[in-house]
């Protein structure tokens, strides 16, 4: 057969399939609906899972690492194999000043009261990130105006601030505000940069803020925060006699409360850095600060997110449930299709007797299931869009992120058609086993 003939046969089978589907409307509707529901439910939850387990900084995240050391005392409250999730101020500053990585930034979060110059606005809180200078270049934060502060400015405890686009829009109507003054917590800060819209999801560099849809509005030098005792938030874990900081009071030396990120451009550098962390721990133990044997970790962004289990258990459960549901819908479709094809044994027998090969019959039946899959896929897509709309109405922090992207759209159709073709395989094969003569005789 040449290509034109094949195309003709395909068109003919398609016509046969449509006729057959029209003959049993209720049954066809049932199959399409079952496929659509299964696909709709599983694509909704799969999209949510896909969004939540995504890479926050594609292309960059593989070079970013999160060093952990273990400064806890020997009788720690919860002895565990893993070192704490954060660093103490001393270790943070030591590692920062050692500057063994290509870039490094020490940071923590909090919120500061902002007193706008406009009398029409009451004072309000803004979410703040206190960090050292490399933050912006390391995380590829895009600047709309100006730039970040320099390392020297940071060490000099400069009263400088980088603000987010949303805050710039609110306070300065979106104009270039570099050089303007911002009053926060009773201190005047000079705006040095305005970030363009930027919100990595998950909020990987500090998961204590909630993992998703969280963005700081002001970025201040960490050293300035330490001097001014600006309010900090997030998690503080202490041991021994360590006391947790509340409000403007800093936690004691026996508490971990800072995040430290490094950029290491090659695997060799990462291995060397891990070595350095072990040496550092050894040195600290020799000095008497550390009591435990060196216990260090160096996780990349994706490893860190995995370790922290940022994707909520409920979302994974929902996804499992939806795929279980899809499986039942498929078994349902296989059963119905089998019944339908077997019922047409007579018709198929006539076709066989008239010279149609088994292959041709098989192709015809598969095209029929393919049509069901395609229509079911379109229905499933509509249902998935509706499902995602429902997810967006829910008040969880990741709700706003639940959107279908192009790759998921494609996956939906592939899944729907493949699933129904698979469901059509067994019934089509069984139907093709019919001996032509037998069918003609029995009727």
């Amino acid at each position: 057969m040449n290509a034109t003939e094949q195309l003709k046969m395909f068109a003919y089978y398609l016509d046969l399939a449509l006729r057959s589907l029209r003959r049993n409307r209720a049954l066809t509707m049932l199959m399409v609906l079952a496929i659509a529901l299964g696909i709709g439910a599983s694509m909704t939850t799969l999209t949510v899972l896909h969004v939540l387990s995504g890479d926050p900084l594609p292309g960059k995240s593989a070079q970013l690492y999160y060093p952990q050391v273990d400064p806890q005392d020997i009788k720690g409250m919860y002895p565990s194999k893993e070192p704490p999730d954060q660093l103490t101020l001393i270790d943070g500053l030591n590692l920062l000043h050692a500057a063994r990585a290509d870039h490094q930034a020490l940071m923590t979060g909090g919120s500061v009261p902002l007193q706008p110059e406009q009398s029409s606005l009451d004072p309000f809180y803004v979410e703040a990130r206190y960090t050292t200078a490399d933050f912006f270049s390391m995380f590829d934060a895009p600047f709309l105006y100006g730039h970040g502060w320099t390392e020297a400015d940071g060490e000099a405890k400069a009263r400088e601030v980088v603000i987010a686009k949303s805050l710039n829009d609110k306070l300065f109507a979106g104009a270039n505000s570099v050089g303007r003054t911002l009053r926060m917590a009773g201190t005047s800060f000079r705006v040095v940069g305005v970030l363009d819209s930027w919100q990595p999801n998950p909020h990987f560099y500090d998961l204590n803020t909630g993992s998703y849809a969280y963005g700081e509005q002001v970025f201040l030098p960490l050293q300035t925060m330490l001097e001014l005792r600006l309010d900090r938030g997030g998690s503080t874990d202490c041991w021994g006699n360590g006391g947790g900081g509340v409000g403007s009071i800093l936690p004691s030396d026996d508490c971990v409360w800072l995040q430290f990120w490094v950029q290491l451009d090659s695997p060799a550098k990462a291995a060397a850095y891990k070595e350095f962390l072990a040496h550092y721990s050894q040195d600290q133990k020799a000095l008497g600060r550390f009591q435990r044997a060196p216990n260090v970790r160096l996780r990349s962004v994706m490893q860190w997110l995995d370790y922290q289990m940022v994707v909520p258990d409920d979302v994974r459960l929902q996804n499992g449930l939806a795929f279980g549901f899809l499986l039942v819908c498929l078994v349902n479709t296989v059963g119905l299709m089998l019944a339908k094809f077997m019922r047409r044994a007579a018709e198929l027998g006539v076709r066989r007797a008239l010279g149609a090969s088994r292959r041709a019959l098989f192709a015809q039946l598969l095209i029929e299931s393919g049509v069901v899959g395609l229509v079911g896929g379109i229905g499933g897509l509509l249902l998935a869009m509706f499902g995602l709309w429902l997810v967006r109405q829910r008040p969880s922090d990741y709700a706003a992120l639940a959107h279908l992207d192009l790759s998921m759209l494609f996956t939906t159709f592939v899944l729907a058609v493949c699933a129904t073709l698979l469901a059509g395989l067994l019934p089509a094969w069984r139907a093709c086993q019919i001996a032509p003569a037998l069918q003609l005789k029995s009727n």
């Binding site: 049954l27 049932l30 079952a34 529901l37 439910a41 009788k75 720690g76 409250m77 919860y78 002895p79 009261p113 007193q115 004072p123 309000f124 809180y125 917590a185 009773g186 005792r229 309010d231 041991w239 006699n241 006391g243 947790g244 900081g245 509340v246 409000g247 403007s248 009071i249 004691s252 909520p312 258990d313 409920d314 994974r316 459960l317 929902q318 449930l321 939806a322 279980g324 549901f325 499986l327 039942v328 819908c329 078994v331 349902n332 296989v334 059963g335 119905l336 089998l338 019944a339 339908k340 077997m342 019922r343 829910r394 008040p395 969880s396 067994l426 069984r430 009727n443």
Partner: protein, 419 residues
């Protein structure tokens, strides 16, 4: 009627029978576990906190430009400011009582520590018990609506104050009944001495309250959900929380009056409308919204799943009825009554569904075991499985009824006609 003809007929439709049994089995396995999860969530959401939650709300506020709590003078100044706020709130016409507190149940902001029967015990050592502290004052019990089982409530003389970071002795505490029973299994906890957070200074238990949940609803708090300790101490920092009980039915009016009253005391503070004054009902709703959402979602999926399975049974049985039109006619012509034909299909469905639920029970237990290793899940209780089995059998009978009725209406004369 003997089973033999039914079994013989089923053998002719092996693939169809296997598929419908498999579908029933999968549906049973999924629905059982989903309903079990729903049940757990509903139970979690409905557990009482121990508070009288009506008319209760929480005020969270922060002073701007307040003194630092690092030095004694600053702490004293902050305490004066806090007492001024408390006095102003207590004077409001719609307010019944007010107590400062670092947190409330379900708020997910907690100060936890460990209690021990021995002085200077290392944190986390044996015999120690984890607890969550509520730092509050003498109006705590009335404001929170806690039920005192034995002992006495705090009085004004018990109340101290401290900077939020300072360590201070806690001469008297009130604990929950669950915590008292854990520390003193023989009872009579009142008057006994315990040591908090590895301290060498004793704390005397002066009272026991019936029930008080800790602030955390996360899984890390599951081990000590009911182990709360009340400490009669005001914490002083630039930040303060006040629990307010409004007069019955006056909660909304009281909530509206709060910002103006606090601004009148001291305008240098941040109070934003949505978050700073929050009713306990809202705190409860936001603590459990994920659980409620999950329960609803699982419920909807189960319902659709049951519908799909029922529709599948209807569809397949309809086909079989159509296929056996002539045989049914023959049986009718040979003297079978309508009800015999009806029963034939009903029994056939019972056999298929029966095989399905046997496999389904195994799958349900298997799925539950898998979930137990991957998620926080307990063994599924037998009643859930048995109810599921019964539900699937009933569902099968309901679904088969319409096609079976149609089969029973096939007239005997069909036997004489060609298809």
């Amino acid at each position: 009627m003997t089973m033999h003809p039914i079994l013989a007929a089923l053998r002719k439709h092996k693939a169809g029978v296997v598929l419908i049994s498999l579908q029933i089995a999968l549906t049973l396995a999924i629905v059982c576990n989903a309903v079990f999860i729903i049940g757990q969530r509903v139970e979690r959401v409905n557990r009482p906190t121990g508070l009288d939650e009506n008319d209760l709300f929480l005020v969270t506020q922060q002073w701007v430009g307040a003194p630092s709590g690092d030095d004694p003078a600053g702490v004293e100044k902050l305490d004066v400011m806090q007492r001024e706020d408390l006095a102003a709130l207590r004077n409001l016409p719609d307010v019944a009582s007010v107590a400062p507190s670092n947190s409330v149940p379900l708020l997910n902001s907690s100060w936890t520590g460990s209690l021990s029967l021995k002085p200077g015990a290392q944190l986390g050592s044996k015999g120690g018990t984890r607890t969550a502290y509520y730092f509050t004052d003498e109006q705590a019990l009335t404001t929170l609506g806690l039920h005192l089982v034995t002992g006495r409530a705090f009085n004004a003389g018990d109340v101290q104050h401290q900077g939020a970071r300072d360590q201070r002795d806690r001469p008297v505490v009130i604990v929950t009944k669950a915590l008292a029973d854990k520390l003193f299994p023989q009872g009579n906890a009142v008057g006994k001495v315990i040591y908090s957070d590895g301290s060498t200074a004793p704390s005397t238990i002066i009272g026991v309250v019936e029930r008080l949940q800790i602030p955390s609803t996360g899984s890390w708090g599951n081990a000590f959900t009911w182990y709360s300790t009340l400490v009669p101490t005001r914490l002083d920092s630039s930040y303060a929380r006040y629990v307010v009980r409004a007069k019955p039915g006056r909660r909304d009016a009281a909530m509206r009056a709060v910002p103006a009253a606090l601004y009148a005391v001291n305008p240098m503070r941040v109070l934003d409308d949505d978050e700073s004054v929050k009713s306990f009902a809202d705190i409860r709703a936001s603590a459990y919204r994920a659980d409620v959402g999950m329960a609803i979602l699982m419920g909807v999926v189960c319902l659709i799943l049951l519908c799909v399975t029922a529709a599948g049974i209807v569809g397949l049985t309809s086909f079989w009825v159509g296929q056996r039109h002539r045989q049914i006619g023959v049986r009718r012509a040979l003297g079978a009554r309508k009800v015999d034909i009806l029963h034939y299909f009903q029994i056939e469905n019972l056999l298929i569904a029966g095989a399905g639920v046997v496999l389904g029970v195994l799958l349900a237990v298997g799925l539950n075991t898998w979930l137990m290793t991957h998620y926080e899940m307990t063994r599924i209780p037998l009643p859930y499985v048995m109810t599921g089995v019964l539900a699937m059998l009933v569902l099968g009978q309901l679904a088969v009824f319409v096609p079976a009725r149609r089969a029973s209406n096939v007239p005997p004369v069909t036997a004489t006609r060609a298809v």
